[in-house]
């Protein structure tokens, strides 16, 4: 639901003792609200770094990143965390669930950032999401879930509060073909239903094929594929 506008964005990493490693050089890009974008490129080209920059996880070396008019590149760390909390849902290759928390609590985790008590409506929505994604009921302990099931829990966590942006980093790379297909469908359906802008960094041709806009990052350049 948020349009994206990049102006002269450069991304670089300090790489001591050598000069900073440049990931992206002076890049402009405009994406409409609700766009569904696949981001591809060779390993190590900087897909994850770009995604982190778009999510405000890492600062950029130069340029502006505007999501619906708000330039997150000029926000400080705390303000970016606040912006992230309000606007983004993130999905990672390795799920990054919290061991020791129950399945439901993993989905509800972001709620605790702001609230002491979990509102009933959010708890119900979390359960509904898990049921809708086909997780067994009653919910088993986190430790016994398969990788595909874990990624579905992570996806439920990302979309719990209906963020206008969904960012996914290789969401299917550590899953078998069947689980990958299922996660891919869920991800695209979720974004389509809520109208969220979706950006997926991936190598998975099946997943990429379902995304209308394709970007490719290679050798510090970001290009739009036809």
């Amino acid at each position: 639901m948020l349009p994206l506008q990049l102006d002269g964005v450069s991304i670089a990493f300090p790489n001591p003792p050598g000069p900073p490693r440049i990931i992206l050089r002076a890049t402009d890009l405009v994406l409409p609200a609700g766009a569904m974008v696949g981001l591809e490129g060779p390993s190590g080209a900087g897909k994850t770094s770009l995604l982190h920059a778009l999510a405000g996880l890492e600062p950029v070396a130069a340029g502006s990143i505007r999501w619906g008019g708000e330039n997150i590149a000029e926000l400080d760390g705390a303000a970016r965390a606040h912006w992230r909390r309000r606007h983004t849902g993130l999905v990672f290759q390795d799920f990054h669930l919290i061991e020791g928390l129950s399945v439901l609590d993993n989905v509800l985790l972001p709620v605790w950032f702001d609230m002491f008590r979990t509102p009933r409506a959010l708890r119900d929505r979390a359960k509904a999401l898990l049921v809708g994604m086909g997780l067994p009921m009653p919910l088993p302990p986190l430790a016994v879930l398969s990788r595909g099931e874990r990624q579905r829990v992570a996806l439920a966590r990302a979309v719990l509060r209906q963020p206008p942006l969904l960012l996914a980093d290789e969401p299917t790379a550590s899953l078998d073909a069947e689980a990958a297909g299922r996660i891919g469908s869920l991800l695209v359906d979720m974004a389509a239903n809520s109208g969220a802008t979706l950006i997926v960094a991936s190598h998975d041709p099946h997943l990429l094929a379902r995304l209308p806009i394709r970007l490719r990052i290679a050798e510090t350049r970001l290009e739009r594929l036809a």
């Binding site: 982190h52 993130l90 609230m115």
Partner: protein, 405 residues
Amino acid sequence: MNPFPLALAGLRHRRGTALALALLVALGVALGVGVGALERSLRQGAARAADAFPLIVGAPGSPTQLVLTAVYLQPDTVTLVPGGVLTRLAADAQAAWVSPIGFGDRWRDKPVVGVAPEFVTLGGRRALAEGRVFAAENEAVIGTAVPLAMGDQLIPAHGLAHAGADEDDADTHHHGDSPYTVVGRLPPSGTPWDHAILVPIERVWEIHGLGNGHAEGAERIGPPWEAAQGIPAVVVQPRDFPGAYALRARYRDAQSNAVFPAEVLVSLFRLMGDVQAVLSAMAMASAVLVLAAVFLAFSGLVAARSRDFAVLRALGAPWRFVLAAVWLELALVLLGGVAVGLGFGWLGGWMAADALGRHARVAVTVAPGWDEVLLALAVLVAGMLGALLPALVVWRRPPGEALKR
């Protein structure tokens, strides 16, 4: 904001490590608490034992030995104070009452101690738990820990009670001719006197073939003693405060020495205080070492969870939430450890004090004291402040790195 579920999840997920850490903290705290509680209770128990002994007069020599003999019934080879001193004391206008303390024999492991009737009631201050004061030479009043009943009879055996007596001399002693009859019982005092059998001093002198301390033919019990014999110590109750000092001054001469047990105990406690200072320093050092070890382990714990914390930040957690979650996890470990350590310390101190007290026949009670609570709180506060460090380190690390790894 609600960081509790996350902190609890961390503890649950690594419960072995968390438990080991809490135990480590508990041990360090218990050591400090135990030493403090033990020292305090021993001092209180020892001081209470001296309550019945305002002034003690004995032969010139070590005041400490005199106190050990009269208060704690631990006669070493004691020099006797001449009977004349007792006669003079009994007639002294500044003494409310006096009583000799003379060691007779033993009945089982209970010492038979010759005293005056005034000592049994402390001049009327102490009511008996049972029965009455002895009124004849063959009657006895027993301490609360002596396993006899009113009316029971006992025959002491010539024993260890007066070291220095020559065993070959035994035939010169006339014990056992007639047994003692128990006529009274003292209330519990928590001192070695709970194990004593109190008999008239006259009988003790007679048994040793020294007459009964009175003029020929007299069969009285108690002062005055016209023909008093040597005894290890005399307890004196002064009439008033100035009298106490006057008496102490008057009976410090070539024949006798007079001491306030409380004064002697103070100097003993000063020595004990030095020992305690060393023990406390060691306990503190161990607590510091334990805390240092715990911090190393905390850093490890935090490093092991750095990915979790990076995930929190990626999901947009505010810094205070991450800080609170990390800190809370460590603080809960500390809190558990300190609480258990406080309990362990008191329990350990109590057990040690009980064992030591039983050995010395002094009742020692370890009551929880504020000193130990303050020590535990100090460890807790230091630990909780220290726990902020790993929490801050977590915040300073960029989240992206941990996520890519």
